[in-house]
Symmetry: C2
Subunit: 141 residues, 2 copies
């Protein structure tokens, strides 16, 4: 397994000019989010098994302390699954290519309370991809 | 309005070693996707108006030739809207901060048929943000 293109570790940021002044000792205006895009190649599970995928993703989401509010999924013909999770903190998604054991995964969380990196690590351990491409973005004004 | 941090224009890519050989003159294995993350600050519309936002996003999605298969949305208390669109080609999402006129937008499309950049441009024209932060990724193995 290789991990390439990880753009940096999750780190806290401080308030910047233009943000609302801090209240209660906490930084103010938080138009800020953490976005992990992790692409798996050569997974050791059936990526057409929507139930398994959904269950594993729910576990991964819960493992980082995020909260699932809703979910929508679609099976493609002849194969392939898309699942979108609407979270209290934003969203998570997967798009699978079962014929290649490959999938695109995203998790995006607004605010600074959630570390998104372990979401990918959790699924890596379960699905054992041969190759992983990680991209990580801190999004904000 | 400013546009910063756009990592590159959409461009076609050719088959790479390791991909399935081309068939019918087209590149083969397409574990490939285009992901636009565009963050708007200072929008000139009410970002708590879920109906308006949904309608505008549907137009923007259709304008780039993508197809909406499903949608899920949530209104946060006291304000803020999340909408996720499940597309034939992958997904689009928005998370709004109405109190600041700000939002996080994503569109991700698998394959090479859709140019995602005009999705952001379409919504910029409608919502007239004072500031835009674009990130663009070509995702693949």
């Amino acid at each position: 397994m290789s991990i390439i293109n990880t753009q940096g570790p999750v780190r806290p940021i401080l308030s910047k000019p233009g943000q609302v002044p801090a209240e209660n000792g906490q930084p103010g205006f938080e138009f800020y989010g953490r976005h992990l895009m992790t692409d798996f190649v050569g997974c050791q599970i059936d990526l057409d098994d929507a139930e398994r995928i959904s269950r594993d993703m729910e576990e991964a989401i819960q493992s980082i302390g995020a909260t699932i509010l809703n979910k929508v999924e679609h099976r493609f013909d002849p194969h392939g699954v898309t699942i979108l999770f609407l979270l209290s903190e934003s969203h998570a998604s997967i798009h699978t290519y079962p014929e290649y054991g490959s999938c695109f995964l995203d998790i995006f969380t607004c605010g600074k309370t959630i570390d998104v990196i372990p979401f990918g690590t959790y699924l890596q351990k379960l699905w054992k991809p041969e190759r992983v491409i990680n991209r990580y973005e801190e999004r904000s004004a």
